[in-house]
């Protein structure tokens, strides 16, 4: 629906934001004192030496060099992409699981007023539990699960935590969407003697799409954050979150290296938002708004 001109200028503004960030970084590094800015003994601006704030050029150069001195070590950017894809897979599983659970909860709350009153406060409360507190519990519970050939893997714990963050926006958004049809449409369905399921299929579901897409996008972003944090707190190896920690630990000797996985995590978030936008594109027909008559 957007005109190409609008889209083009959006890209332009996005790039301008990036450039501004780079200028701020290099500008402060150039003029700021090496020891940082202190106020009554409290450091309020970082040191500007190369260890604390490496040059942007150094970050990019470092990303193109091998990870370490071992023979056959891949360039940093290659292993960052590998780790990012690993995390994306885990986050996607968490996002799908969270979205399904969130949507089912929304259906339940729409169907039963009582459920809405009983469940919704718990949903809100669930999001106040810190992830760090949750991770060991889930890992411990997961470790006890063993059904036949199936055994709990560590990545599943990460996915569960990601889904724990992802389900909330989907549940709230889907509920709003399912409740969005006007009284006139609901009465029309009543005159057609359409029951709950037919009304859901023909009216509530299509009407919920404009609410569902932003909720799914928010859920995807939450799933990425959840994955990155959960990787660290569950000790899952191979993902981008773990890589951020590992590279940061070599920070004193190789400060520029730590920024590549951070950039990777940012791009991961953007990619996930883009993937959800594709879903939105497929459901574009339902995004039509009712015209004022």
């Amino acid at each position: 629906m957007t005109r190409p001109g609008v889209r083009f200028s959006a890209v332009l503004w996005g790039l301008a934001g990036l450039v501004l960030l780079a200028v701020l970084w290099e500008g402060y590094k150039a003029v700021g004192p090496v020891t940082g800015v202190q106020f009554f003994g409290q450091s309020i601006l970082p040191k500007t030496d190369d260890r604390s704030m490496p040059h942007l050029v150094d970050m990019v150069t470092r990303a193109l060099q091998p990870v370490n001195s071992a023979v056959g070590s891949p360039p940093v950017w290659v292993s960052v992409i590998g780790a990012a894809l690993n995390s994306l897979g885990v986050a996607a599983v968490g996002w799908v699981a969270g979205s399904v659970v969130g949507f089912l909860l929304a259906l339940l709350m729409q169907r039963l007023r009582v459920a809405e009153r009983a469940v919704l406060p718990w949903l809100i409360l669930s999001q106040t539990v810190p992830l760090i507190a949750l991770a060991p519990v889930i890992v411990a519970w997961g470790g006890k699960i063993q059904i036949g050939a199936f055994s709990w893997d560590r990545w599943m714990s990460v996915a569960v935590i990601a889904s724990y963050l992802a389900f909330f926006p989907v549940a709230v958004g889907a509920l709003r969407g399912l409740q969005s049809p006007d009284a006139i449409h609901l009465e029309l369905m009543r005159t057609y003697n359409a029951g709950w399921f037919k009304t859901l299929l023909r009216l509530r579901l299509p009407a919920s799409v404009p609410y569902l897409i932003p909720a799914l996008r928010l859920g995807a972003a939450s799933a990425i954050v959840g994955t990155v944090v959960a990787e660290v707190s569950t000790g899952y190896k191979g993902g981008i979150g773990r890589m951020i920690i590992e590279f940061a630990q070599s920070g004193t000797s190789d400060p520029a290296k730590a920024y590549a996985p951070i950039a990777g995590a940012v791009i991961l978030g953007l990619v996930s938002a883009g993937l959800v936008a594709l879903v939105g594109l497929a459901l574009k027909r339902f995004n039509r708004q009712e015209a004022a008559s």
Binding site: H185, A291, S293
Partner: protein, 283 residues
């Protein structure tokens, strides 16, 4: 209290067949906050014969929409009895005895014109080919042939309302319930739509209950105009309009003296006393 005047002529003419609508001393009380009650309808009786066009007219709060909603089984009467083709209102709704159109078109924005018209058929399991054949007929009937694959947001208000009327006719109901369907349209569109409605209704032979607050609209369309008054909502008079069958009602009729007589009669019934107009003061 004025007792509703029934027209024996209409009743006798259709004595053999079941009345399309039979309302007997219906009342509706709404519970509002803190136990207070609002009497929206009080002891209303009305019979509508098959194929008859009846308008309900009156000021806001006179219960005309409430009466329509009781007939449609969107609300339940607190007293009295409402029969639609001899069945309870609830059974008649379940059996899809009526089609309905509201003040706003209420089209589903993600469905094309054709898909909107097909909605009731789709819900009731009518096959795809039969559905599109019926939609085709109706699209032609309401004159939207070039717009069948447009979406509601691409149509004018009048066109949207035509789609809504086509949708209400989809299952060939013998009764149409219309709640100010032209209320949001401009005067020119409105008169054209009235003309079309009168034609469509006489072609399909359906009985119509039409809620409006426009006197000329009620007179132009109806066989009988039911005049209601508020607090509590009740029928204060029924005016017979004799302007010939719907097929013969055209624009010229609006300047006919019989039309003016009808307008005057309805207005007097509304105001409760003979008005002494200076010349013609039509709105």
């Amino acid at each position: 209290m004025t007792t509703p005047v029934q027209t024996p002529a209409t009743g006798a003419a259709h004595a053999a067949s079941v009345a399309a609508i039979s309302v007997r001393s219906a009342g509706k009380v709404f519970q509002v906050a803190k136990g207070a009650e609002v009497r929206a309808l009080d002891d209303v009786s009305l019979t509508v014969a098959p194929g008859e066009f009846v308008s309900l007219i009156g000021p806001s709060g006179c219960g005309k929409s409430t009466l329509l909603r009781l007939i449609a089984d969107l609300d339940e009467a607190t007293s009295g009895e409402i029969l639609v083709f001899g069945k309870t209102a609830r059974q008649a709704r379940i059996d899809q005895e009526y089609g309905i159109a509201f003040q706003s078109a209420g089209l589903l924005p993600w469905r094309s014109v054709q898909a909107n018209i097909e909605l009731p058929l789709e819900l009731h399991g009518v096959g795809k080919t039969e559905r599109s054949a019926r939609a085709e007929e109706l699209i032609e009937l309401v004159g939207l042939t070039d717009f069948r694959s447009r979406f509601p947001d691409q149509l004018s208000g009048g066109m949207q309302q035509r789609v809504a009327i086509a949708r209400s006719l989809a299952e060939r109901p013998k009764l149409l319930l219309m709640d100010e369907p032209f209320g949001a349209l401009d005067e020119m569109t409105r008169e054209r739509m009235q003309q079309e409605l009168v034609r469509i209704c006489s072609e399909t032979g359906a009985a119509v209950v039409f809620v409006t607050h426009s006197i000329p609209e009620a007179v132009f369309l109806s066989d009988r105009v039911v005049v209601m008054s508020p607090r509590p909502g009740r029928i204060v008079g029924i005016v017979d309009i004799d302007l010939g069958p719907g097929t013969q009602r055209s624009e010229g009729l609006r300047e006919n003296s019989a039309f003016f007589e009808g307008v005057t009669a309805v207005r007097e019934a509304l105001h409760g006393s003979p008005a002494a107009p200076m010349g013609v003061e039509l709105r």
